[in-house]
Symmetry: C3
Subunit: 267 residues, 3 copies
Amino acid sequence: MSRGVITFTSDFGTKEYYVGAVKGSVLSVNPDARIVDLSHDIPSHDLLGAAFTVLGSYGLYPPGTVHLIIVDPGVGSKRRGLLVATEKYLFVAPDNGVLSLVYQREDIRQVVSIEAEHYFRQPVAPTFHGRDIFGPVAGYLSRGIEASKFGPPITDYVKLTLPDVKEVGAGVLEGFVLHVDKFGNIITSIREEDIAAKMGQGARPRKFVINDQEITKHVSYYSEGDAVKAFSLIGSSGFFEIASLKKSAARVLEVKRGMKVTAEFQA
Amino acid sequence: MSRGVITFTSDFGTKEYYVGAVKGSVLSVNPDARIVDLSHDIPSHDLLGAAFTVLGSYGLYPPGTVHLIIVDPGVGSKRRGLLVATEKYLFVAPDNGVLSLVYQREDIRQVVSIEAEHYFRQPVAPTFHGRDIFGPVAGYLSRGIEASKFGPPITDYVKLTLPDVKEVGAGVLEGFVLHVDKFGNIITSIREEDIAAKMGQGARPRKFVINDQEITKHVSYYSEGDAVKAFSLIGSSGFFEIASLKKSAARVLEVKRGMKVTAEFQA
Amino acid sequence: MSRGVITFTSDFGTKEYYVGAVKGSVLSVNPDARIVDLSHDIPSHDLLGAAFTVLGSYGLYPPGTVHLIIVDPGVGSKRRGLLVATEKYLFVAPDNGVLSLVYQREDIRQVVSIEAEHYFRQPVAPTFHGRDIFGPVAGYLSRGIEASKFGPPITDYVKLTLPDVKEVGAGVLEGFVLHVDKFGNIITSIREEDIAAKMGQGARPRKFVINDQEITKHVSYYSEGDAVKAFSLIGSSGFFEIASLKKSAARVLEVKRGMKVTAEFQA
């Protein structure tokens, strides 16, 4: 089924030994695992940043893939470790909300609190559960060990409190800035399918308002967006985004993650 | 033959989800593919930089390797996608000249315009052909699907206009600065084999002139080059380069990519 | 046994073609090799930094793994290439001390000077032994070729002169700063097992002295360390380290690699 594919996302950076140690702990359990690096350059402790990175890629992988996500500001404290099963995938991560966007989008089959210590590397260092708990668990999962073997099912796992997209008027949606990418593109929490669900397939944005500025041009791809300060488009992960051609829209509009965004649509 | 090796070069950086998404789109088509990261830190939209990186590594790979190169400033516009077959390799890239140095060095067997939409991920986002077109095509190629299945053969593919190395006098060659690497080494477009072809195997450089400065010392490896401001050597990809010991030659000599270089040789 | 796992550590960075070229040279010899990137962001020519990165990860890998380490300031000169066999692993690296921490910790079975040129890629560029010698040798090793085939055994390989941890008084150990990590944590050369060996399992640090400053709080994990300027803990690779909560301890205490550290313990 999975053929041993394990994706690996972290905030470890690539200058220290952490990434190499976790990969070793996976391979020592399953030498046939195929580890695929997604990103190790998530900003330190940035749970929402990691959630967004995972959201943009996890669904592309073949069924049975194990997704290992280690962004773990609470390592060593009593926060739990999680194993989350959806129809197609298994996720291994600390219970700190880093999987919140997966919970929103997927039908969650099973969430297990990782407690079965015989699957851990011993002794467990209180500063490095990635190597001693999450890595080995991902390795065992990729060998086909059942999720339920790793601990009891739970339902009270942590979710980041992210504001829902709300309809605040006729054809007007309110969301927030989910992410600013390295090019300065502003990814909003409003998705193409929110519009389609509420206003029909053909609905098109009339304007976006963000930080008291109006964006009224909507395009299909970046290079169409010349001659205006900023424009909207549907980004590759399905969210509306605000961009500026060859400039950082976030800087041009002085926008930061978390700010409110409203969008007006016409059918 | 290829055993599913796919190299992957891009300007996506490692902070966003793009690299992980493309890898997923490859693996969803061929879960047994083995993706090898070359570099994702090509400067944004730097076609010649990507061309040079690919040039330095593609020829080392086993026959049958698929080389996937995504540096794509024109994504979403009408630029074509290409599949290029040489005797040993298959290249998948946008038709924007990023393969120019491959065209120079290889006997090109077949160039196909990628048009067969049933091999694409649907729907195709106009901003992310890497994920929706190039990744899946690389995956299918690695499964052994024939190049001709992906679209019609073409001959008018885009080449960067790079000046040829010219003989401008007896034993004098003129080229240009092809690349400045992260150490500040200046890689010229003049290759060891240009000299051998024109002046015989034993020919040695007498001097290089670049930005009105003469470089008269030629060495075999970097640490020989002390006691002079700058020296020439044959770099590991076969081009003459100008370097300074423990300093950036590009800064010392105020040299930028594209500048003219002349070299005088003696048999 | 090894199933072809080859870890790869270098100071090549990820902007140039060097990493991709070495991976190709490995795969051209063994197309089934599975190359695992540890880090390519070792600071240029930093032998001790590379040694520390390798130390933190090599021991996690399955038996038979080949560890390829290329940090090679002397490339092209007469420094030898090494193949080092321990009970579980094979190491391939230049003979410049980069394996010193492995020598300290492992029972070394065999050290071979790499000299058998028929295993090299030809011609060997004097500036890139990683591609032309070390990569291919790692590839052949992963195919099961015996270490002794690559050259004669030697015993006079290079070791970095690292001060031993010394007992300088009753319950007082003296070591040095081995590494400062990207968070500014100060990793000392004093290991948990040094204490256990000398003072019994239950021994706990009473204080550390570094750069004339005393650190008297000892914790189990980082987030316990609030309310003090700096604290000690046992890091994930078994060394005592000095950290500051959410700050760089190295900056707070003005500490650099190589500085003396003393530690007082009580049984």
